[in-house]
Symmetry: C2
Subunit: 315 residues, 2 copies
């Protein structure tokens, strides 16, 4: 792996730079890309941000359309863990000059690689890179970087949050980032569709093992009637686990083919990844996923049976 | 006003110290008091924390019962804005030696006073005071102080959050605070009672002016059936405003006497305090309260009429 100083020096020597983001872009890949874009422009360079998808307007006011009139002479990826995540741009992975990321599982190849999995967000790395490049952080850059950091740390709540995260947030506030508006839009705004789905979840949730297991089902019909966006469903998946006393919270979303996509969240000791592995899925200790068959009653029973030994032995 | 250094020097010379917290204690007054308690003990002193109420066990694992066998020879209040807030201890306000607070409206009198309204939480001041006193921050103290800071900033979301807030959070993480568990308990855990009330709110909320005004009603019967705690109702009051497109979110809680306690939250431009002032209440720009009469339909109509000029002129 290279040093961040090597990346800073290399980038300062380049021009006509394409910055690649991952498909289904989130706050961190977009925040990283657009802060770097503005930093490069401040140094007098031409650059543009590209993505498999159109940039979502919602939440990410700092984005602008890609400018493909710039012929790429240097290629950088930010927050992209594997070539597949480039989508339509996957072929460009072979021509990549520089990769900046924070995913431990990164499989990208490039002459210059900087992967720091102690960074809570790629935006933390980009902030430090911009400092090394002598860029001064504008309000707009601060908004981009803050968005990535608060997205990936769930507003400083997730275990990846570090003292460094808070210190960078402090510096971004000093650069004028609109943290109130950003956090309100990302965490405290729910669409009417989401409210509909939340109501359904609260109305139909089942509890087992003295309330230590909660299972909620989201049928296709409810999803369709609500018009909820896929990214909003993630917030809903957190609901069952948030109820007091619940150690394992499971959301079962009916897919179009009738099978159930399950999302498992755990509070303190149950291992979500282990539960999901029993159904061919996987994930992290506290959040994981898998897919179950189309017989709802049977799928539910399988989940209950799987959770029984975990929850009963600790009674 | 005195300097923090003067307070540090004074406290180092005292012993047998009573630390006063405000009634209906929250994370900030308790976090401040118990961190200071432990700091004073580290310096070899006897001290205890007192409060009008019993210390709530929930959320605040760092508390311990008051030890009134210690005869007070020095009295300090933390996060107490006025003598009335001492409740049963109001008479002690006259004997107070030192007052530490962050409320601009502070009306306490004491030989030593330190009120810093730029501090998001009194815990920020206590952290700085402990540093000046040469105390080393233990994990338990870090938990106390982090609890106060995250409580009063709504997990770094409220407008009182500052770069200093984030830098102190970073230091508290380095001292080992259990930020994940603290934030999960404070912000991501809902009692079954709260879920019941949230369901009722979502099921019965009314929208006006193209969805820019949302009004929810919480009848006594629902409150009683749910067994929800008063402090949990504050979280519910935030719900209507969180819906996309809502500028003014109002919750009407039926009181025991049949009147309605209204809580007004606004998103970006409507002034909540001004709305409430029309009904004899008051508060802040984005969150305020008032009390209305017992005729629900009439009270609702009054609120709608009051919001009309604010929301219609900006259509």
């Amino acid at each position: 792996m290279n040093t961040l100083q090597e990346l800073a020096s290399a980038l300062k020597q380049q021009d006509d730079i394409w910055i690649y983001t991952h498909m289904n872009p989130d706050g961190d890949t977009l925040g990283s890309a657009f802060a770097l874009l503005e930093g490069l422009r401040q140094l007098g360079k031409r650059a543009t941000v590209v993505c498999h998808n159109a940039f979502p307007g919602k939440f990410y006011r700092f984005t602008e359309p890609s400018d493909k009139t710039i012929a790429p002479r240097y290629r950088v990826s930010v927050d992209v863990a594997s070539p597949q995540l480039l989508g339509d741009y996957e072929v460009d992975a072979q021509k990549l000059d520089c990769c900046i990321d924070h995913h431990r599982t990164n499989t990208m190849e490039a002459p210059l690689i900087y992967v720091d999995d102690t960074a809570a967000a790629t935006c933390e790395i980009i902030y430090e890179l911009l400092m090394l490049m002598g860029v001064s952080i504008t309000k707009r850059m601060a908004n981009s970087l803050y968005t990535g950091i608060t997205t990936d740390t769930g507003c400083y709540k997730f275990s990846n949050t570090s003292p460094r995260t808070h210190r960078i947030a402090a510096a971004l506030m000093e650069a004028g980032c609109e943290y109130e508006a950003i956090n309100r839009e990302l965490f405290d705004t729910k669409s009417r569709g989401r409210i509909l789905v939340e109501r359904h979840v609260l109305d139909t949730m089942d509890f087992y093992f003295d309330g230590k297991l909660a299972i909620a089902v989201i049928p296709q019909a409810v999803k369709r009637a609500s018009g909820i966006l896929p990214e909003e469903l993630d917030g809903v998946s957190a609901l069952p686990r948030q109820i007091e006393g619940v150690e394992i919270g499971i959301t079962m979303r009916e897919r179009e083919d009738g099978c159930y996509k399950i999302s498992v969240r755990t509070a303190t000791y149950a291992n979500a990844a282990e539960i999901c592995r029993q159904f061919g899925g996987g994930g992290h200790d506290r959040a994981a996923g898998a897919t179950l068959g189309s017989d709802l009653a049977e799928a539910k029973q399988q989940l209950v049976d799987c959770c029984r030994p975990i929850l009963e032995e600790l009674k």
